[in-house]
């Protein structure tokens, strides 16, 4: 009765879904924080950057940590992807991580700084640009897939227990990731983050507050930029990824078309609410667009986890490890969501530039 292989397949697919969810939490939550940092890049004064940083002081760490959780889930459930894709994505990830380092320390140092306040303010803003840019490049590069081979990755020909290992490793060069498409997705990610950040700042600061007023204009501009970026990404993907084109024009083309209509509806609702200054509602509709597009992308890639490179099943841990991971870790997912939600709830509400800055 018990078909073990089938159970393992199901659990693996389950972790693929959870992985998608963890990444989604990261881009949806930290995306807004990062975007607010991109906004701060254009702030003429230090006080404004300080206020923006203070507005997320109690939450940024939790939001950012979803990335670490996604990395941990990838390592725990799909180590074969983790160990090859990250090797492939070294340069863009390094770039994003440097951005994350700059931001993380800037948050703590900016408060105490006097003479170097400007420096740490810029470290926050520049870091907030680098992180989504690097992550966006990495995402675009992942969609392109990468070359792999079994056998030693380095020091070929040296003896050892792994000479005949069937596990394929990344074999390209440092710059294999670099294409016009991946560069474009880097900017696309910055634009999307910028929009999320704008929506967040509108909702976070009191109406009439200088930051709110600026963020309103910013958000309007970025919602058009983001729409253009989404259309270009879709058309470009259709042109260069046969696996995507085949799926979108396959027998279920109408599902994709319907999905696109729903996305457009969400985007429309977000823009309408934004123009009526129902800022929090606009933020939620905007996040809805991210959710819909994200799941559409994962569905397009199915059954691949990295297109044309790793299928979900080939990349997963052996059944035994996947089972243990499921047994012990699944229950923590709702708990993580709960305490993160509580933390965000405690720090909710609108603030002002002056109030936030007071503590700095």
């Amino acid at each position: 009765m018990f078909d073990l292989a089938r159970i393992a397949t199901t659990l693996t697919t389950w972790w693929w879904l959870l992985l998608s969810l963890m990444f989604l939490f990261y881009i949806a939550l930290d995306g807004a924080d990062l975007g607010a940092g991109v906004f701060a890049l254009f702030s003429p004064e230090e006080q404004e950057r300080g206020a923006i940083m203070a507005s997320m002081a109690g939450m940024w760490d939790g939001n950012e940590t979803w990335l670490v959780v996604a990395g941990g889930v990838l390592f725990g459930a799909f180590p074969l992807v983790y160990g090859s894709a990250f090797n492939y994505l070294m340069i863009p990830l390094m770039f994003a991580l440097w951005g994350i380092i700059s931001r993380a320390v800037a948050f703590e140092f900016h408060v105490h700084a006097t003479g170097s306040k400007r420096f740490w303010g810029w470290a926050f803003a520049v870091g907030s640009f680098m992180a989504p840019f690097g992550a966006g490049v990495a995402l675009g590069a992942t969609l392109q897939g990468f070359p792999m081979q079994a056998g030693a990755a380095m020091a070929k020909g040296a003896p050892g227990l792994f000479v005949n290992s069937p596990v394929p490793h990344f074999t390209g060069t440092a710059l294999t990731f670099l294409t016009p498409f991946s560069i474009f997705t880097g900017f696309g990610a910055v634009i999307t983050a910028g929009l999320a950040g704008g929506l967040y700042l509108c909702a976070r600061f009191e109406k009439g507050d200088p930051i709110n007023v600026k963020a309103q204009r910013w958000t309007t501009l970025f919602s058009y930029l983001a729409l253009i970026a989404i259309v270009i990404t879709l058309v470009w993907s259709y042109a260069i990824f046969p696996w995507a084109a085949a799926k979108w024009t396959g027998p279920y083309w109408w599902v994709w078309a319907l999905w696109l209509l729903v996305v457009l509806f969400f985007a429309f609702k977000s823009m309408m609410n934004h123009s009526m200054q129902k800022d929090f509602v606009a933020l939620l509709w905007g996040e809805g667009v991210v959710v819909l597009l994200w799941f559409a992308m994962w569905a397009t890639m199915f059954p691949y986890i990295v297109p044309e490179t790793w299928t979900i099943q080939a990349a997963a841990n052996p059944a035994n490890s996947i089972a243990v991971f499921t047994l012990f870790m699944t229950g923590f997912v709702p708990i993580m969501i709960m305490y993160n939600a509580y933390q965000i709830w405690v720090f909710r509400g609108r603030t002002t530039k002056m109030a936030s800055y007071g503590g700095h």
Binding site: Y82, A104, A174, F347, A355
Partner: protein, 484 residues
């Protein structure tokens, strides 16, 4: 030459060693101090003594700067296995990957989910909820250390697995998780974090007493810190010895390198029982050019007999021997610091027993205070050297006796490896310089004795605790009616 010492592999080892060393500079203090902050908060809530609260808030400032640096360097760590050691990550995925997944889900996120409440929540959540948040941060950071030591311990003593299809597949989860090295390694690491935390607090307190600023307040901190250290430092020596005995039988090459023990037998055929105080290994890494030797001590240490045989490096093929320089000297520095810190705890206890641990008594003993300030830096060095002993001593293996380091290295060009090193060189040094600079600023500024206590009528305190909106949750009432 060992493949592990060829330039591309050596650089990838350096790349990883650098980010690890710069990460372990922060996390132990986070772990140790978070428990101390919890203790201070409990002391305040139980006794109602405001001074515990003031001390808590002061050390919390240091804690949070340190925490930021720990997160900044830690996110990289979580990705770096895949980036720099991709084939290793793939092969160890079924166990090590799972454990790292456990760590992010049950510890890293757990900590992040409560840190905001702990630091910025003083006036937004009730006292009970706040205490709970502090506890969660402390517990989560220790749990994180546990999982990391499980994973790293397993690399030293890879139990409970079988190598199949190029993957280390788990056959026994219990013996893999409770692997030999972890069972002694985790307590040793955890106690080190507590010792570091207490010495940083004691050193800071000593500085204030030395400068005669808030001396009363910091004497109050110094006393429990010294008593805690009187317990922790000898325990640490015992744990270290036990870990050493374990290394002797589970990783004989590591032990031989740590002790510079090249020859199992003397030329006359008797066992070589001598312990080297100092040794200069030769270029071929197979004998020492010079050494100061104390007979019988090595056998006593490792076999607890006078003339027991301890396998030397000559028992192992040259290609399986770790380099001696780093493990030998870092081990000695760590041990020396361990004993010195025990001595400091004894010195402090003696002052307590004589009733001299008072402002007046300490002012007459500036050298005790100065040495205490100096001692605050020593645990950092001990943790570094201990970790280097562990990691370099395991070479040329990444998974002891099963996977060689070069087999785990990612496919990278020299340029890539150098860019990583230079980039992280700049970023991590900036983090280091910044964090220590802001530690010194926070310390020079001193504790804030003015702002109202949480739950008291607020004057300006909303601004003090920036980071949230103006809206105050309805449940943010002071609970714990005990204090004031």
């Amino acid at each position: 030459m060992l493949v592990e010492n060829s330039l591309p592999i050596l650089l990838s080892r350096l790349d990883f060693a650098w980010i690890t060393s710069m990460h372990i500079l922060w996390t132990p203090l986070t772990i140790g101090v978070s428990w101390i902050l919890f203790g201070l908060e409990v002391a305040w809530l139980r006794s109602g003594d405001e001074r515990w609260y003031r001390l808590n808030r002061f050390f919390e400032k240091i804690f949070i700067v340190n925490f930021g640096a720990g997160v900044a360097t830690g996110v990289t760590m979580e990705m770096a296995f895949g980036i720099l050691y991709g084939p290793f990550s793939q092969a160890v995925g079924p166990f090590f990957g799972n454990i790292l997944g456990f760590e992010t889900i049950t510890a890293f996120m757990y900590e992040a989910g409560f840190i905001g409440l702990m630091v910025f929540g003083w006036n937004k959540i009730g006292k009970g909820m706040h205490l709970f948040s502090t506890f969660n941060v402390a517990f989560a950071s220790s749990l994180s250390a546990y999982w990391i030591l499980v994973a790293n311990g397993w690399m030293q003593t890879p139990d409970g697995i079988v190598l199949k299809d190029g993957l280390f597949q788990v056959t026994n989860w219990w013996s893999a998780i409770f692997n030999e090295s972890n069972n002694w390694g985790f307590p040793h690491m955890w106690v080190a974090t507590m010792i570091l935390g207490f010495f940083v607090l004691a050193g800071t307190s000593a500085w204030f007493i030395l400068k005669n600023r808030h001396a009363d307040l910091f004497v109050k901190m110094l006393k429990p810190a010294i008593l805690a250290l009187l317990i922790a430092t000898p325990i640490q020596i015992w744990l270290g010895d036990s870990l050493g005995v374990d290394v002797a039988h589970s990783e004989p090459t590591t032990l031989a390198a740590m002790e510079g023990h090249f020859h199992t037998y003397l030329p006359d055929g008797k066992p070589n029982t001598a312990w080297n105080l100092i040794a200069i290994p030769n270029a071929a890494n197979d004998a020492s050019l010079f050494s100061i030797r104390i007979p019988h001590v090595l056998s006593l240490l490792e076999t607890h007999t006078l003339n027991g045989v301890v396998p030397g490096l000559d028992q192992f093929p040259a290609k399986d021997r770790p380099d001696v320089w780093v493990p030998f000297y870092s081990f000695r520095i760590m041990v020396a610091i361990g004993f010195f810190l025990f001595f400091m705890a004894l010195w402090g206890t003696m002052l307590i027993l004589r009733g001299q641990l008072t402002v007046a008594g300490l002012r007459k003993r500036p050298w005790f205070l100065r040495t205490m300030v100096f001692s605050a830096f020593l645990p950092y060095l001990a943790i570094w050297t201990g970790w280097w002993t562990r990691e370099v001593g395991r070479q040329p293996w990444v998974v002891y006796n099963l996977m060689r380091t070069y087999e785990g290295t990612s496919h990278m060009g020299l340029g890539q490896e150098i860019v990583w090193f230079l980039g992280y060189g700049v970023f991590e040094l900036t983090v280091w310089a910044g964090a220590w600079y802001f530690f010194s600023r926070v310390i020079r500024k001193g504790p804030d004795l003015e702002s109202p206590l949480p739950g008291e009528p607020e004057q300006d305190s909303d601004q003090e605790h920036a980071g949230g909106g103006l809206a105050k949750p309805t449940f943010a009432k002071p609970t714990f009616g005990k204090s004031h």
